[in-house]
Amino acid sequence: MKVTINGDAGELPDGSTVAQAVRMLTAMTSGVAVAVNDVVVSKGAWESTSLSENDRVEVLTAVQGG
């Protein structure tokens, strides 16, 4: 299925979870947060939350700023 991860189109097996999408970018779990279609998915729910076709996944972390 097609999903967008941080603005880039990607292909994931059907039934992939948020955790799998995050692992495509980073092995880190601390200091990272995820939103799917503009709704925050808490860390405890990454493994149990399945993605659907055309989901928009945003994986954020802290950077220098302000």
Partner: protein, 258 residues
């Protein structure tokens, strides 16, 4: 004088330093690290961005190592909705319910949008956040945000990164007079005297980044800012003399040869 006797209290939490730092604009994490140490800061902002796997080292490591509390901001947001989502992501990633709320009106001025900021503040307060909103030097808006439950108000001195100092000291004084939450002068400071003036006007703290990180010698400027904030705070507490049009002799007025 620089101990907990005169602590800054935000949202029930005490800080002995009244200098809040930003981390934007530093040429490297190493330079930032040394500047933060020299500043003596205990509270420092970070921004939230898409994770880039190519980036090595994290500003969070620097803050953790120094024991500095992290204050995520919502920089880059143009609407209340974006800011609320960014704050929630920051809460999840950084395990803090504190947020410097920043909703920008346009790219050219980077001035804060008062309508979107107020809308986001109400929603974030209702969601349990400790909200520190970045605003224009507007006493009416500052009062409304305090009434809405914000933990502090952060009026600008001048546009972000401009180094123009405090363009409207009178408005800052009006905000200070009316506020019962901390007033934190945020944005526009250029050099140490600007930070001292903010404190002399009665601000409870200052937040600055560019003035330090883009100075020719960031570490030295961080030290200067630290001293300026302390000096300005002490001067405020000491109570300055009134301004006079004419001289007033400070020596006894009797004739020298009576």
């Amino acid at each position: 004088m620089n101990d907990m006797d005169d602590a800054l209290v935000i949202g029930g939490e005490k800080f002995s330093s009244r200098l809040i730092m930003g981390t934007g604009g530093a040429p490297s994490l190493d330079v930032l690290d040394r500047a933060l140490e020299a500043s003596g800061t205990e509270l420092t902002t970070v921004a939230m961005r898409r994770l880039d796997p190519a980036v090595q080292g994290s500003v969070l490591d620097v803050l953790r190592r120094r024991g500095i509390k992290v204050l995520p901001n919502t920089a880059g947001c143009f609407t209340a909705g974006e800011a609320v989502l960014t704050a929630r992501l920051a809460r999840e990633a950084l395990e803090t319910n504190w947020v410097k709320l920043e909703v920008i009106a346009d790219e050219r001025t980077l001035l804060p949008d008062p309508i979107e900021t107020f809308d986001a503040a109400e929603r974030l307060v209702a969601d349990g956040f400790v909200v520190l909103p970045y605003i224009g030097d507007d006493p009416a808006l500052a009062r409304r945000l305090e009434q809405a439950g914000c933990a502090a108000v952060m009026p600008l001195g001048a546009p972000i990164g401009s180094g123009l100092g405090i363009r409207n000291p009178h408005s800052i004084e009006l905000i200070v007079e009316a506020a019962s939450v901390p007033v934190i002068l945020d944005a526009g400071l250029g050099t140490a005297s600007d930070a001292a003036l903010a404190m002399e006007l009665g601000c409870d703290a200052v937040l600055l980044a560019t003035a330090v990180t883009r100075a020719q010698r960031p570490e030295l400027m961080a030290s200067a800012m630290r001293s300026a904030v302390e000096a300005g705070r002490m001067a405020r507490l000491a109570g300055r003399i009134p301004r006079r049009r004419y001289a007033e002799a400070s020596s006894p007025s009797l004739p020298r040869f009576a």
